[in-house]
């Protein structure tokens, strides 16, 4: 039965935990388990005693009477029923005796609900069962002693004893199983009585009892949970509020509003879609309500990119962008590409036609560009709502997407409602566009809901870290772009750097470092690789005497062509970096993101405004977007570079990849008839820490390189402190039991904001995970790279997160 429910709740057990533990099936399963356990224990004891008497005192009680046996059996069964069903009858004393853990076994290793239940549990497990166990062990010990002694002396009754002996042997196996089953339970019970913290939440006790003779099956799967550990995750996405007594009587009704199109995410893709929709509406003189929700406190404040912008899509969307004052202030004038070794810089010529060529592109502060796009959108009549995060996808009854709901606010850290609690708002639309950026948390649900990733490879990612510096004016060459690969990463770790000299009124440079998240060494720290890289002679010379003014980080897509999911589904579409249109060798995705938004807008507009349209689903299904996408230049562009990133998966790593690019991209233009595969999920790539060498990083000097916390401060990130951590764990025990035990806590190193910290337990033995959620810069790396895929990033209270100023 547990197995059946396990299948039902698989992967989302935590959401149902409380409901399940309170349910009738759980009570029934618990009492049945208790019944079978206790009856088998008593039967075993009885049989053991009988054999014992038979062997040790063979003459006195040779054949026990049939009637007596039946009586004893009946007594045992009645006793079993009483023990098992007493807690169900006397609810007052025992409360929820069985539903204290997921498998409904009343081990009560955690804090008991009532004293009665605790005493009852102790009497059964430490009284009855321990006594029975001791009887069995002692009897068998004594039997063996006797058999050995008598076996050498007696000739009489030999046959009988032989028969007894085989049975004794068979029973001995039962005793071994019995002790294997019970000793851990006794130890757990005693430990919990002594209030010792039990580290593993799930004792891997799937020991199946051997079924012997007529003894009832003895299941002793002790998935005991120890909630002496205080909860890390308190978020309502893991602990539903409808079963929570603290939420009783709280008004959960939501205000709803209707728009034609709702767009989630005010980035390049979302805003381009909004602008295109309103342009078309104005052109055709149609009324169209377009709403954009954005989790950042203002448009562009969560945007982070290099950024070297290719203006193709922008010129298609707003041809007069120059006149409208788009902040594209720095045309690329100089392009440098190099391979770094620890001391030297080997320049690599950039031939025309290579994807790294940046002629005609602009160096921008993408956050400022996005803010400008927002102004253009508002001017056209788009409703922008920064500071309100979409936290939920809403569905029609037919399964199509109905819209989104914004996040609730005013929830305390422990998950209870505050006095100022306010419910989010529902925004319904004919079609909803999801442009959440790389690894969006709603897109993650949609992939599952509509099986959008059925025909593509898993997405692969990288993390990009970036800083802004004001440097010495003499070293400043506006328009210069520098890219490098190589040091400090080894040849098998994909990654590289950028350094752009911006022309923004002061001697500003944007620099950053990108590391592929398919790296294998859990000791690698992208942040510290970045800090170390700045000490390379060719980089340090630019930075010396300068001042760092900003810091940030964000994950980016690297899967490219192979990893593009299905883009449309009833009621919605995916745009921008959410599905992932990044051109990896070009290290550019803004132009493709914008174009995808425009294509989605164009396809949606004709359908929304078609008055004769008969839609099969309540939310509009627009497969035309996908078709338009396949005919567009994004498709061609991504197809031609599809093999470059995976070509780095070879023994020679970086060098093999560069040779491949030289031959197949530069000469064949990506026309080779094969498509290389990626390595699979980034989360699966880490090797256990014991197989890897720790990396020694130099200490930051406070001038060129810095420590993590002073860096995070420069991201301006902030969250309301008194709210449930938005980095949720599916299971609170996994970090210590798996991530720390096997991978030495890699989240401490891959998080660029110091959110995850393993700290010693207050009791002094062992460690616990501390989540500093207010540091989070919304980069999503943890959700991607967590080797146990136990972290689920959800949106915090709106307007929380980094406060980037033109990153």
């Amino acid at each position: 039965m547990i197995g059946a429910y396990d299948l039902k709740f698989r992967g989302e057990y935590n959401r149902h935990a409380q409901a399940w533990m309170d349910s009738v099936p759980c009570q029934v399963i618990g009492s049945l388990a208790m019944l079978s356990t206790e009856v088998s224990v008593l039967l075993l004891t009885y049989l053991t005693l009988e054999k014992y008497i038979c062997i040790v005192y063979p003459f006195r009680y040779l054949t026990p009477g049939r009637r007596r046996t039946v009586t004893i059996l009946v007594v045992i069964w009645i006793l079993g029923f009483v023990i098992a069903f007493l807690p169900l009858v006397c609810k007052g004393v025992f409360r929820n005796f069985y539903g204290t853990n997921g498998v409904c076994f009343p081990l009560h290793s955690e804090q008991p609900e009532t004293l009665g239940a605790q005493i009852y549990s102790i009497v059964i497990f430490l009284g009855l069962n321990l006594v029975a166990f001791l009887i069995i062990v002692l009897s068998y010990g004594s039997m063996f002693y006797n058999i050995q002694r008598t076996g050498t002396q007696t000739t009489k009754y030999t046959n009988h004893i032989k028969k007894e002996l085989t049975i004794a042997k068979r029973f001995f196996s039962i005793v071994i199983t019995d002790s294997l089953c019970w000793i851990p339970i006794f130890i757990l019970k005693i430990l919990s009585l002594m209030e010792v913290e039990i580290p593993a939440r799930r004792c891997v006790g799937a020991l199946k009892a051997v079924q012997a003779e007529h003894v009832a099956p003895q299941v002793c799967s002790t998935r005991s949970s120890s909630s002496t550990l205080s909860r890390i995750t308190t978020h309502y996405s893991v602990y539903p509020r409808d079963k929570d007594p603290r939420w009783e009587g709280v008004e959960m009704e939501r205000f709803a509003d209707e728009a034609d199109v709702v767009i989630v995410g005010g980035g390049p893709a979302g805003l381009s879609a909004a602008i295109r929709l309103k342009q078309l509406a104005n052109q055709h003189e149609k009324e169209l309500r377009v709403c954009v929700v954005e989790k950042a406190s203002q448009i562009g404040a969560h945007t982070l990119s290099g950024a070297c912008l290719e203006p193709t899509a922008l010129s298609e969307l707003i041809p007069d962008w120059k006149e409208r004052g788009a902040p594209l202030n720095t045309p690329v004038t100089e392009d440098k590409f190099s391979i770094l070794t620890e001391k030297y810089r080997i320049p690599v010529p950039i031939l025309p036609g290579l994807p790294m060529n940046n002629h005609g592109n602009y160096l921008v502060r993408l956050g400022h560009f996005v803010r400008w796009l927002g102004e253009q959108a508002e001017e056209l009549g788009v409703e922008l709502y920064p500071g309100y995060a979409a936290s939920e996808v809403l569905f029609h009854e037919d399964g199509s997407v109905k819209g989104i709901a914004t996040n609730d606010v005013g929830i305390a850290k422990d998950g209870s409602p505050k006095d100022v609690f306010e419910r989010g708002m529902e925004l319904h639309a004919k079609v909803t566009l999801f442009g959440e950026g790389c690894h969006g948390h709603l897109a993650k649900q949609l992939y599952k809901q509509f099986n959008l990733r059925g025909n593509c490879e898993p997405q692969t990612y990288a993390i990009g870290l970036k800083e802004l510096w004001v440097i010495d004016e003499k070293k400043w060459c506006p328009g210069r772009t520098e890219h490098s690969v190589g040091w400090p990463l080894n040849r098998n770790t994909y990654g590289g750097s950028f350094l752009y000299h911006l022309n923004e009124g002061e001697p500003l440079v944007a620099l950053g470092f990108v590391v592929g998240l398919d790296y294998t060494n859990p000791y690698l720290s992208p942040f510290r690789e970045f800090q170390r890289w700045k000490h390379h002679p060719s980089i340090m010379s630019t930075l010396e005497g300068g001042n760092r003014i900003a810091y940030g980080a964000r994950a980016l897509n690297e899967g490219g062509f192979q990893s593009i999911p299905k883009l449309t589904f009833p009621g919605g579409m995916l745009i921008g970096c959410s599905p992932g249109f990044m051109n990896v060798p070009k290290i550019k995705g803004t132009h493709t993101a914008m174009k995808s938004g425009m294509l989605a807008a164009e396809s949606a507009f004709s359908k929304i405004t078609d008055e004769n349209l008969q839609s099969e689903t309540a939310g509009l299904y627009i497969p035309e977007y996908e078709e338009a996408f396949k005919k567009s230049w994004i498709w061609k562009e991504l197809y031609s570079v599809r093999n470059i990133r995976p070509s780095f998966h070879n023994y020679f790593g970086l060098y093999g990849g560069m040779v491949y690019t030289g031959i197949f991209y530069w000469i064949l233009r990506g026309k080779e008839p094969w498509t290389l595969k990626h390595n699979g999920l980034d989360a699966d790539q880490l090797k256990p820490a014991k197989d890897c060498t720790p990396i020694e990083y130099p200490k930051p000097d406070g001038k060129i390189s810095f420590d993590l916390l002073s860096s995070v401060a420069l991201s301006g990130t902030n969250h309301e402190h008194d709210q449930p951590p938005h980095l949720t764990l599916k299971d609170d025990s996994v970090p210590v039991a798996q991530n720390l035990a096997i991978y030495d806590g890699p989240e401490q190193r891959f998080c660029p904001a110091g959110v995850y910290e393993y700290v010693p337990l207050e009791t002094g033995d062992g460690m616990r995970l501390q989540i500093n959620a207010q540091n989070c810069v919304h980069c999503k790396t943890c959700d991607i790279k967590d080797p146990s895929q136990n972290i689920n990033w959800v949106v915090p209270e709106g307007s929380g997160g980094p406060a980037y100023n033109g990153m």
């Binding site: 406190s297 400022h368 709502y385 005013g410 989010g424 401060a713």
Partner: protein, 248 residues
């Protein structure tokens, strides 16, 4: 009722190269937390039907309209944006703001002005007091509880080591302290509704106020960088180090 407030600059600040102030370009301006409390208190009075109308006022460049919008979403009825920009905005201090508020209070015939006790950027804590002085109205500063009794106002004030309860006559000026209330959220439906509420734009000159400042900022410095510390093993080492540093 009348709830003027100031705009707040975020923590990620950088001193301008010429050291005359901090860089404010492109950074988000949000409402000062004490002013949020002031707005909340005004809205509460309105909900209790003790006041007829709540007017939200802010002085600053175009962006402060967003902040006024937030106050409208919290429940204020209409907004007044006193436009001060450029050089005037940079030198805008408590005295200039008080003059504007006093002029507006007369013009709007307000009965009660509620302000935050201080802005958390310059920490001046002067505007409320100056406004009361310019209007020659009674003042209840650092309020942690406000009760309206006919034409009198009972104000519980936070003072050193305890609370002081005073009764003042209306019209009056009240400045809000931290414990007065917990401000509500500006929810999305209310933000949508607030878009329909009116914000009137006025210039200080329309009110007959001269906003020129008599103060000159000599320089603004970044706080000194904290020196990294050292760990010592024993008390002896500690004493040695302190002697070396000439502290003992």
């Amino acid at each position: 009722c009348f709830a003027p407030f100031l705009c707040l600059r975020p923590p990620q600040i950088r001193v301008k190269p010429d050291r005359t102030g901090v860089v404010t370009d492109g950074v988000k301006h949000s409402m000062n937390p004490f002013c949020e409390i002031a707005v909340e208190e005004a809205v509460k009075l309105k909900e209790k039907k003790l006041v007829k109308e709540v007017v939200a006022v802010s002085c600053g460049p175009q962006q402060v309209q967003e902040t006024i919008r937030t106050a409208l979403a919290m429940g204020a009825d209409r907004g007044i944006h006193v436009e001060v920009s450029g050089k005037d905005y940079e030198t805008l201090g408590p005295l200039q703001v008080s003059k504007i508020f006093a002029a507006l209070a007369k013009k709007e015939q307000a009965d009660l002005i509620i302000l935050g006790k201080q802005a958390i950027d310059d920490d001046c804590n002067q505007t409320g007091q100056m406004t009361a002085a310019l209007l020659d109205w009674p003042q209840g500063t650092f309020a942690s509880e406000v009760t309206l009794e006919a034409d009198k106002l009972k104000v519980v004030r936070e003072i050193d080591g305890g609370l002081e309860t005073i009764k003042i006559k209306l019209p009056a000026v009240v400045t809000a302290d931290l414990r007065l209330n917990t401000p509500r959220y500006a929810t999305l439906p209310n933000i949508m509704k607030a878009k329909k509420k009116k914000i009137v734009n006025v210039k200080p000159a329309d009110l007959g106020v001269d906003v020129s400042s008599r103060l000159e900022v000599l320089k603004v410095d970044e706080p000194p960088q904290r020196q990294s510390g050292v760990k010592v093993e024993t008390v002896h080492d500690l004493v040695e180090k302190l002697k070396e540093a000439g502290r003992i």
